[in-house]
């Protein structure tokens, strides 16, 4: 197993809710990320899945130090990134880059592609000497499959898929070790999604990158990930190797999520069991006591309202394929995706 390159422990991000203008009073908080543990290994892809509002995008912003956590640690090369500042923080940021979801709003419409992809060099001038930059940008455009001759064009002259390639080129500019991609293909058409996924997989092999791949689409996450973490309302509820999560899920939320994914095969209609959850995700400003999934869970009992289930390998399931981390008092294996023949 490859060494851990990024370790996240007990990560919290709470946003205060205030009332009053002159005399601001804190009346509560939105617990966007509420105790997240993650491990990213060198050269691997860690997929993080969850529905909107589960805190996955906030987690991404914390990982690349765009925001400061309320509590917890992010360890990179033996150092806690959350305690760094100034030059030391800048050096870390160079190695952990981000690709954003929306290629329509994450590129400045007034800048040329050359300026966008080359901007990281303005912030980290040591990465490439001034005379080199233009050439480096052309190289980067070539690497992501864009025509280097288009260096002087503006973002609106490109399609969605091409814009996402520009975003990826910018992420690669400083030769980072880690790329955090927040829903990188969800704004793209099906036929173009595959092109971008293939590109990301190729770049990973070529440059030995480690990815944190955040998405709500479970089939894409499965395709690209080595390990998967499922998030619900600010916490990881289950994590493991991709086959453990997809073929042997033990947390009821993961099972419901998997069973709800439409499968592009009408023959699978009859074969699979569907778990339809009732209700909506609670607000992160009013998180239920105990297990936060209990309000929608069909297995919930009294203990679920009282005790917070911890993310650990359940005693009963140790050793088997279902023996991976799951934060449920009543974790048990249940196959929901029919095995592919």
């Amino acid at each position: 197993m490859a060494e851990a390159i990024l370790e996240v422990r007990g990560l919290h991000k709470h946003y205060p809710l205030t009332r009053g203008v002159l005399f601001r009073k804190e009346v509560g908080s939105v617990r966007a990320v509420d105790g997240v543990d993650l491990t990213l290994r060198r050269g691997e892809t860690l997929g993080v899945v969850g529905e909107s509002g589960c805190g996955k995008s906030t987690a991404a912003r914390l990982l690349v130090s765009l925001e400061r956590p309320t509590a917890g640690s992010i360890t990179y090369r033996g150092e806690d990134v959350t305690r760094l500042s100034g030059r030391a923080l800048k050096a870390v940021r160079r190695n952990i880059q981000m690709v954003f979801q929306d290629p329509y709003t994450s590129l400045n419409p007034r800048m040329t592609v050359g300026d966008i992809v080359g901007e990281p060099f303005d912030i980290h001038p040591e990465a490439a000497p001034k005379g080199e930059r233009r050439r480096r940008v052309r190289e980067l455009l070539d690497v992501v499959g864009l025509n280097p001759e288009h260096i002087n064009r503006y973002p609106h002259q490109f399609s969605g898929g091409q814009r996402q390639r520009i975003g990826i080129a910018r992420g690669l500019a400083l030769r980072p070790e880690i790329i955090v991609a927040d829903e990188p293909v969800s704004a793209l058409d099906v036929s173009v999604q595959a092109q971008v996924i293939n590109l990301m997989a190729r770049l990973q092999r070529e440059f030995g990158l480690s990815y944190v791949f955040i998405a709500h689409d479970l089939s894409i996450v499965r395709h690209i990930s080595d390990r998967v973490a499922v998030m619900y309302l600010g916490r990881i509820v289950e994590s493991g190797r991709d086959s453990e999560i997809y073929d042997h899920p033990t947390h009821p939320y993961t099972q419901a999520l998997l069973s709800a994914v439409p499968v592009p095969d009408p023959r699978a209609r009859a074969r699979r069991e569907r778990i339809i959850l009732t209700g909506d995700v609670p607000s992160p400003a009013a998180v239920p006591s105990g297990c936060r999934f209990r309000t929608r869970c069909w297995k919930a009992r009294d203990v679920c309202a009282e005790e917070v289930p911890l993310l650990a390998v359940p005693q009963r399931l140790r050793g088997g394929l279902a023996g991976h981390e799951s934060a449920c008092h009543f974790a048990e294996e249940k196959r929901v995706v029919a095995p592919t023949p």
Binding site: V190, A194, I197, N198, S259, A260, V261, P264, V337, T340
Partner: protein, 324 residues
């Protein structure tokens, strides 16, 4: 046949010239049947729905040809006044974005009740009672209390239920749903799709489902019409198409979906990009991206070939495609 669209043409006048958004589209839906119109952005699927519904923005849009036969009558020949009566009572639409389709300053009850005061001439009190009944029917909990709330007080899934309630209010024979679950989370998506399927069975409605999601289609549709650059390139019963597509574009779409047994390998991407509608390639619009393209594809627009009694494909080489 409940709805029979024949050779529909829609154009948009834009600064860059005339965009042929819909270019000879034909399809049909029976009562109690679900037809999925599948296509990527810019394929003309939403414009087709708007033209059938009669809510196309004119100008810039304009229906330039074809027929829309609904229960035997050509809707395109009706006066606006008559068409309005068909809308709502005969056919209704569910939109993608429930938040912007609902009026933010009216309560949900008022908006649901309006269907009955306007179309059925009911009193406000009776309409309110009907609104509560409808909300129960689409399984919105605590309907009696929530009928007085505003759209922003509902979650995304609940808002979409309100939209569905509004669509079924007058028990129409046909519902057109334009990407009804695209803005929703997976678990909520499943709830809403199930509700639509159940209501369709209960009322024996026809359902036209406009979508880009191959998974949703496989889950609920009886038949599929695949659209590309303003044309239907393939139409068939859902099982046939997933078993063996007869058009290279359909094949490409199916192959580009990540599958469990292909994990770790390259996804089959369709090369290139969908064309701009002001500049659709000559011949078959798909030929620049097609792995099977030959000379004839660059010059001749392929007519829909009959693959079987229930199936058609607009490809010169559909037989080769069908045989893999």
């Amino acid at each position: 046949m409940l709805l029979d669209v024949r050779d529909l043409h829609v154009e948009f006048r834009t600064r860059d010239g005339v965009a042929r958004a819909v270019n000879g589209v034909s399809f049909g839906v029976d009562a109690g049947e679900t037809l999925a119109v599948l296509g990527e952005s810019g394929s003309g699927k939403s414009v087709t729905a708007q033209a059938v519904m009669g809510i196309l923005d004119t100008p810039p849009g304009r229906v330039t040809g074809g027929e829309v036969l609904f229960q035997g009558r050509d809707l395109l020949k009706l006066k606006e006044e008559e068409r309005r009566r068909v809308r709502g009572a005969g056919m209704a639409m569910v939109f993608q974005d429930a938040l912007s389709s609902l009026n933010p300053v009216l309560t949900v009850g008022d908006q649901l009740g309006e269907m009955f005061t306007v179309h059925r001439g009911m009193s406000r009190k009776d309409a309110r009672a009907k609104a509560v009944e409808l909300m129960d029917q689409v399984r919105i909990p605590a309907a009696r209390e929530r009928v007085r709330q505003y759209p922003h007080q509902f979650s995304g899934g609940m808002r979409q239920r309100v939209m569905i309630a509004m669509a079924i209010a007058l028990e129409p024979a046909l519902i057109i749903a334009d990407e009804p679950t695209t803005a929703l989370d997976v678990t909520v998506q499943a709830q809403v799709m199930d509700l639509l399927a159940e209501l369709r069975r209960e009322y024996r409605m026809g359902l036209v489902l406009i979508t880009h999601d191959l998974g949703v289609v496989a889950d609920v549709a009886d038949r599929i019409a695949v659209m590309y650059a303003g044309r239907v390139v393939e139409s068939a019963p859902v099982d046939d198409i997933y078993k063996a597509p007869a058009h290279p574009y359909t094949r490409g779409l199916l192959d580009s979906v990540p599958r469990l047994d292909l994990k770790g390998r390259e996804l089959h991407a369709i090369r290139g990009l969908p064309p701009s509608l002001t500049d659709v390639p000559r011949g078959c619009a798909f030929h620049p991206r097609c792995p099977m393209a030959r000379d004839v594809c660059r010059t001749d627009v392929p007519a829909p070939h009959e693959v079987s009694a229930t199936r058609a494909a607009a490809c010169h080489f559909w037989k080769e495609c069908l045989n893999g």
